[in-house]
């Protein structure tokens, strides 16, 4: 499978908008890995991309308010006081 062939498929059940997103993400992956992927691997990656795009759509079905923050653990670092930076 060529890179073009690997990025322009639109399997049944995928609407054009989903296919565009999946193909764009696939192009990103293909660019990172170059020619190192077999046809079978490219097909598998695209299939998984389709599933993860669907996951993102499920997340966007949940209404969130501006005040809905993520739980983040960040602790500002300060070294020992005798350190200069």
């Amino acid at each position: 499978m060529t890179e073009q062939e690997g990025t322009t498929d639109q399997p049944a059940g995928e609407n054009p908008r989903q296919a565009t997103i999946i193909n764009a993400q696939f192009a990103f992956i293909a660019a990172r890995f170059g020619d190192g992927l077999s046809a079978e691997e490219r097909a598998e990656i695209r299939s998984r991309l389709a599933r993860s795009v669907a996951l993102g759509e499920q997340l966007r079905s949940v209404p969130l308010a501006h005040s809905d923050e993520p739980e983040m653990l960040f602790i500002p670092y300060r070294g020992k006081d005798d350190q200069t930076s």
């Binding site: 990656i45 998984r48 993102g56 949940v62 809905d68 993520p70 739980e71 653990l73």
Partner: protein
């Protein structure tokens, strides 16, 4: 006590035997190693047996106990650790060929704490490669081969803590440490007929454990009884400066409560389970009615699986980015794992952050529901262990009914699985009790009460 009796004795029973002078830690270690070398190897449960170190520790335990220095209920007890926990000078393979020769120069906090408690590490145990984070779709996904259930060599042990489950289930060791991001303690516990505890996220330090998901990884015990799980948890829990996500909230002692519990039953969870799983779950509910009240509930309406999936994918892809980009993932055993996380490198950051934002809201709503109960119960896994030759999609299918796995792990809630029967083919089934965050005492008390009225946890395979 006979060798068979030693093999399937609980931590509590072995502790009594040691203190009564009926067995020595050295004898227990030698017995464990003999069974690991034979039964354990046959089940693909073992990576490394730490013979010399274990025998030295056993002699040390004997000397300390003789001198009146008793470190507590784990002193002199052999155990195994999932091979994603760093052990100084001993290979830590993460179950994966590319990491087969990886050696750290420090111990994971859990390993250090168990050593302080007097427990004796006898083996590093097999696991699904990289804790299953690369999306394996069949049991043959470890360089040690497919994990086999303690109850049938033709059935999968479950994963990703495969060897921890089967080595305990087959009477090689009285307890093991497993890890769970999403199902990796509860599933192998269920498939091997053992009791497994997934603590609250942050209850047990992750320092020295392979990272799959920084915000969802948990470490916990797999043993024969809930009582033993409580004993091990007490030894490994607590704040750790090396893991800033650990909590200083004290571990509440398990109360001696045997009835008066309030159970929620997850609506619809058993409807789509295999017939024997459903029947055994319904029989378990009758036992729970003897010790408490039951009320059917549904989970708050959130995309639990999708939210948990996006978080695990994003964090795993980041944790393993160098491994993936370097091409080293091509050395993984399962073909689907070799490119299994490539797609997650394209996951939008806003999707990940949205999942984190949803988690915060979902956790609050789920806690409001659970506040009314000691535990919510459901079949641990809606099917028995699949054949080791089957792909999961053949056995499990893609469709899933309601389950506690995604919600409980997404929100970092504690859960314990206990055996509750067998299928017609002789494979174990199990029920799980999930509680509020930091309420290990409640679910442990409920599980201990359940096991005081059932004997499924005392049955063992004919190894």
């Amino acid at each position: 006590m006979s060798a068979d009796g030693l093999a399937y004795a609980t931590v509590a029973e072995l502790g009594r035997l040691i203190r009564a002078g009926e067995v020595t830690p050295t004898q227990l270690v030698e017995h464990a190693i003999e069974r690991l070398e034979t039964v354990g190897r046959r089940l693909n449960a073992v990576v490394t047996i730490t013979r010399d170190l274990a025998l030295a520790r056993a002699r040390q335990a004997e000397a300390e106990l003789s001198a009146g220095h008793d470190r507590g209920p784990l002193h002199g007890i052999p155990y195994g650790a999932k091979d994603l926990l760093a052990t100084a000078g001993i290979p830590t393979t993460w179950g994966a060929t590319p990491f087969q020769h990886q050696v750290f120069d420090y111990d994971a906090t859990v390993i250090a704490r168990l050593r302080e408690a007097g427990a004796i590490l006898v083996a590093k145990l097999a696991m699904v490669e990289c804790a299953g984070g690369f999306g394996y779709e069949q049991p043959d996904a470890s360089f040690t081969g497919p994990g086999k259930s303690a109850w049938s060599e033709e059935a999968w042990s479950g994963g990703s803590s495969s060897g921890s489950g089967s080595a305990v289930g087959a009477g090689c060791i009285p307890f093991a440490i497993g890890s769970e991001t999403w199902g990796s303690i509860l599933t192998p516990s269920a498939f091997n007929g053992v009791t497994g505890l997934r603590p609250t996220y942050g209850r047990v330090s992750r320092h020295g454990a392979m990272a799959l998901s920084w915000t969802m990884d948990k470490l916990g015990p797999m043993a024969r009884t809930a009582e033993d799980c409580a004993t091990v948890l007490a030894a490994i829990a607590g704040p750790d400066p090396n893991d800033p996500t650990t909590t200083d909230r004290p571990l509440t002692p398990v109360p001696p409560q045997r009835d008066g519990f309030r159970f929620a039953v997850l609506k619809g969870a058993a409807d789509w389970a295999q017939r024997e799983v459903r029947e055994n779950f319904e029989a378990s509910l009758e036992v729970l009615r003897e010790i408490g009240s039951l009320e059917e509930v549904s989970l708050p309406d959130f995309p639990w699986d999708a939210t948990a999936s996006v978080i695990v994918l994003a964090e795993a892809a980041s944790a393993f980015e160098e491994f993936i980009i370097s091409g080293e993932s091509a050395g993984l055993t399962a073909p689907e794992d070799r490119t299994g996380l490539h797609h997650a490198l394209a996951l939008p950051a806003v999707d990940y952050l949205r999942a984190l934002r949803i988690r915060r809201r979902a956790a609050r709503e789920l806690d409001r529901l659970l506040a009314e109960f000691d535990a919510i119960v459901a079949p641990t896994i809606p099917y028995v262990a699949p054949p080791i030759s089957d792909r999961f999609q053949t056995w499990f299918g893609r469709e899933r009914g309601p389950s506690l796995g995604a919600a409980g792990n997404l929100c970092g809630l504690p859960s314990i699985t206990v055996p509750n029967g067998f299928s017609e083919s002789g494979l174990p089934t199990a029920i799980e009790f999930t509680g509020r965050a930091y309420a290990e005492d409640r679910i442990l008390a409920a599980a201990i009460a359940f096991q005081s009225r059932t004997d499924w946890h005392t049955r063992h395979p004919a190894w």
